[in-house]
């Protein structure tokens, strides 16, 4: 490969003044999370707030499962954005394709770890899943496809997509050259290699889309097919899962792109048109999701069973009301911000309204995932048990905090050794000549 003349920076994360303190803080959080998990492992699930349904008046799925769904949701938007960029040739979004792929891989790894944290006996659970899972069960689709097939497919996607940049960076003598050469695996940027890569990316995108829709729908079916659990049994569960996944994931991509733009000074490559496209996608997804929420609410209020309405009453005016209305307020404020951003000329030149909307929809998504998982267990009893309650213990908060810290660390670590924004190719504005 010939030498490279570049007018843009390599987009490899550089350790600034804030980088090391942030990493130190994240390592502390991760350490606390590991300590909490080890305590859970030695003392059992008693250290969590999780209890049996019914007689113990608790919830067997709590904060961990909430975050499994949240992480898988983020991964959905990551890989679907990456696939759509290739399939629909949305060139404006091309600079964030690697961030989207990385978001998917990291979130799926975090989802897998969160499931492990939720299992009292992790090894037994993992082995038995691979040994006994039944094809009829949504768990089969969810955990075999999401955690295994989907993660593997995303890793293949990320790996193949990064080969060219790894080769370019290795040829430039960048740090971690051995790693970069191993990643490049002999890539030399010839025309046949480029053609092959384009073709492989296209078919990978085609193959990944049905896989991810199936995987996310089955995750919705885990809840939506449970006829004996008021609040879960709904035909809208799967599509609503997919829509909220899209909303939160796009919001997260906007946040990540804004951070990369600011910290790596990439105002030219991560420009306003790209944010505008992401913002419009997020706005449309958010409107569709709010429509689903409204439809489900009205259907259950008018025609739901008594127990169905009990769960709904708890959400609208009971113990969970503050969380429910906070989530709805978050979504509505985010939608209003996006409308203002689209309508007001002065706002359109700023990114902050999109970032604020991204943060709001992500907080709302976490709350909504919690509200999907928990109230139906504590309030949705068909047998004559008293209503229960669930409050996560510090162990659960610490484990989730540790996992979030791990996710950010993985992202920062990757950005430190590899271009987080794809290097420009011939013909791009970046004028790379190879």
């Amino acid at each position: 490969m010939a030498t490279t003349a570049r007018t843009l920076p390599a987009e490899r994360g550089r350790g600034g003044r804030t980088w090391y303190p942030v990493v130190a803080l994240l390592l502390i959080l991760l350490g606390v999370g590991i300590y909490a998990y080890l305590e859970e492992l030695s003392e059992g699930m008693a250290v969590t707030g999780l209890r049996n349904l019914g007689p113990q008046g608790g919830a067997t799925w709590g904060l961990y499962i909430t975050f499994v769904i949240y992480f898988v949701g983020l991964s959905f938007a990551g890989i679907s954005t990456a696939a759509l960029i290739r399939l629909a040739k949305i060139d404006k979004l091309r600079p964030i394709v690697r961030m989207a792929e990385l978001l998917t891989v990291i979130c799926l790894m975090l989802a897998a770890m969160t499931i492990v944290a939720d299992l009292g006996q992790p090894l037994r659970g993992i082995v038995n899943l691979f040994r006994y899972a039944r094809p009829q069960s949504p768990f089969f689709g969810t955990f075999t496809l999401v955690i295994s097939g989907y993660l593997f497919a995303s890793l293949v996607y990320l790996y193949l997509d990064g080969r060219r940049d790894a080769a370019v960076r290795a040829a430039e003598g960048a740090p971690y050259r051995g790693f970069l050469r191993a990643w490049a695996a002999g890539y030399s940027d010839t025309e046949p290699e480029r053609v092959r890569h384009r073709r492989a990316s296209f078919w990978l995108s085609i193959a990944i889309v049905p896989l991810l829709v199936t995987a996310h729908s089955t995750l919705g079916f885990v809840f939506g097919l449970q006829v004996g659990r008021p609040g879960w049994y709904s035909a809208l569960q799967a599509p609503a899962f997919v829509m909220l996944a899209g909303v939160s994931g796009l919001g997260m991509l906007i946040i990540l792109a804004a951070i990369a733009r600011r910290s790596l000074h990439l105002q030219a490559r991560l420009g306003l048109p790209m944010f505008r496209t992401l913002g419009i996608f997020m706005f449309v997804s958010l409107l569709v999701y709010l429509y689903f929420v409204g439809v489900e609410l009205l259907t259950n209020l008018y025609t739901g069973s008594v127990r169905e309405r009990d769960v709904l009453r708890e959400l609208l005016g009971g113990d969970y009301a503050w969380l429910y209305w906070s989530a709805i307020a978050g979504f509505v404020i985010a939608a209003a911000l996006l409308v203002a951003w689209l309508a007001v000329q002065q706002l359109r030149t700023h990114i902050w309204p999109l970032v604020v909307a991204g943060v709001l929809v992500n907080l709302g998504a976490m709350a909504k995932r919690f509200l999907i998982v928990v109230p139906s267990q504590t309030e949705g009893q068909l047998l004559p048990y008293a209503d229960g309650s669930y409050a996560p213990s510090w162990t659960e908060y610490a484990v989730i905090g540790g996992l979030l810290a791990l996710g950010v660390l993985l992202f920062l670590g990757f950005a430190k050794v590899f271009p987080i924004i794809p290097l420009p190719e011939e013909g791009d504005d970046g004028k790379v000549v190879t």
Binding site: R131, P135, L160, T190, L204
Partner: protein, 79 residues
């Protein structure tokens, strides 16, 4: 058909075939459970075989890109 395409197509067919066989014939029987046999996979670790099938299909993309060119192809692509 060159060697690259042959290997890739073979991997895709084997991968999808393994998924289908694992799902339909090796895992627990599909349909309304009538006895205990519906709770057990017909072959232990059938779900793992299904995942292996998914893995083989997607690995075909790596093989497609990484398999070195034949010398005559490489010569033809040089400027």
């Amino acid at each position: 058909m060159n060697v690259r395409r042959f290997i890739v197509w073979a991997m895709v067919i084997i991968g999808f075939g393994l998924q289908a066989v694992a799902y339909l014939a090796l895992a627990a029987p599909l349909g309304k459970p009538t006895d205990v046999s519906f709770s057990e996979p017909r072959v232990p670790f059938a779900p793992l075989l299904f995942i292996l099938g998914v893995g083989i299909v997607f690995s075909a993309a790596i093989v497609y890109e990484l398999l070195p060119d034949r010398p005559e192809d490489r010569t033809a692509s040089e400027p």
